[in-house]
Subunit: 192 residues, 2 copies
DNA sequence: AATTAATTCGGACAACCGTTTTAATTGATT
DNA sequence: AATCAATTAAAACGGTTGTCCGAATTAATT
């Protein structure tokens, strides 16, 4: 393929525009026409490259999830003790919520769609499984035995820890008035 | 007003039908016509009583939130120690997730809409504030001082505890395969 | 009983949506 | 240079949606 124009390929421009708009306004509130306009592309091209609106969203989500998991993996490589790693993860969440909340918005939006659509549910469960597994392997399995949140498997405990991160982040994202709310995430670290 | 028919008032039938359908299929996936049909009412009546689709949803949510908060209040009156009350709250979440998940679905759906609409955001923040406050007053403020999740205000800690309940519940709701996932909620109790 | 107000009903409208179709253009292959 | 496939473009289609309006019916008030 020649690259006569130094521009990005149309399919990629569409993907980027879709991410921008969806993470800013929500999947249900964005039309394919808006995305096409922002991408500088004719409407029918969206169907040409991604068949469906759902197909487009799936691709956006795949891309986002991949980026997200890689970043979490990178974060969890830093530090040595369980407490250290947990605090790094918490700080990563706090930073993202402040500087790049759109990524979180997209994931939360996906969460609500997963409630009503099985294909989205599978996609999201895969993400949840992965992140929880990362927490289990990199944090809980190196924690001192006397910690281990008494009596529960590290698998189950990891689910709860991720849930705490997730549920607290939602509150931070939705309530921009309470300036000290991001501190609630730090409380998770005091479990260790 | 005479009550010629022993039936419920139309406005109430609409509200009930709206709750049923929205909590089953999601707000964005439900049309006013479906709700009108299930309520046994003509379409235009929805606008007559609730003006907008948004107005109808707001009323459904107000009703739901009220019921929800009253129940949480009732739960937190049982038991004496902080640990006991926390475990009761956890068990309440587990029971609801198993037997009446539609209530949770509606709240999660509202959460995603709150991301993109300010009026919904205010509604939801009010709920979050209330529940977190209940946790703070009824659990954290009677916990032994040496607990208190070192160094943080009970207000902040309550936010995190609610976040843990919320975030873990979402996982339970979305992943019906892992039968032991509801156990992850119990892990929260082991903090006390 | 007559008048007024509140409710119920049926239908229509205008706008928007995702998708499809068909044609024009460009690139690659022989 | 000719042929074929891939891409880009433009327009239209069918369907659904929330909202609105005017008339019919019922209830309340005088």
């Amino acid at each position: 393929m020649h690259y006569d124009k130094q521009e990005v390929h149309q399919s990629q421009r569409i993907l980027n525009a879709a991410f921008d708009h969806i993470s800013k306004k929500g999947y249900a509130n964005v039309s394919l026409r808006e995305i096409a306009d922002e991408a500088g592309v004719v409407l029918s091209q969206l169907n040409y490259y991604y068949k469906n609106k759902e197909g487009l969203l799936v691709e956006v989500i795949r891309m986002t999830i991949k980026k997200y998991i890689v970043e979490v993996e990178r974060i969890l490589m830093i530090g040595s003790t369980a407490k250290e790693k947990m605090n790094n993860l918490i700080r990563y969440f706090q930073d993202m919520l402040r500087e790049n909340p759109n990524l979180f918005r997209l994931l939360f939006d996906l969460t609500s769609m997963a409630m009503w659509s099985e294909s989205f549910r599978n996609l999201l469960n895969e993400l949840f499984d992965n992140v929880a597994q990362l927490i289990e392997d990199n944090i809980l399995n190196i924690a001192t035995p006397e910690f281990r949140l008494s009596g529960y498997t590290s698998h189950t405990a990891a689910r709860m820890l991720f849930g705490a991160l997730f549920g607290t982040s939602i509150q931070v994202l939705l309530n921009s008035d309470e300036k000290e709310l991001p501190e609630a995430l730090s409380v998770i670290g005091s479990m260790f």
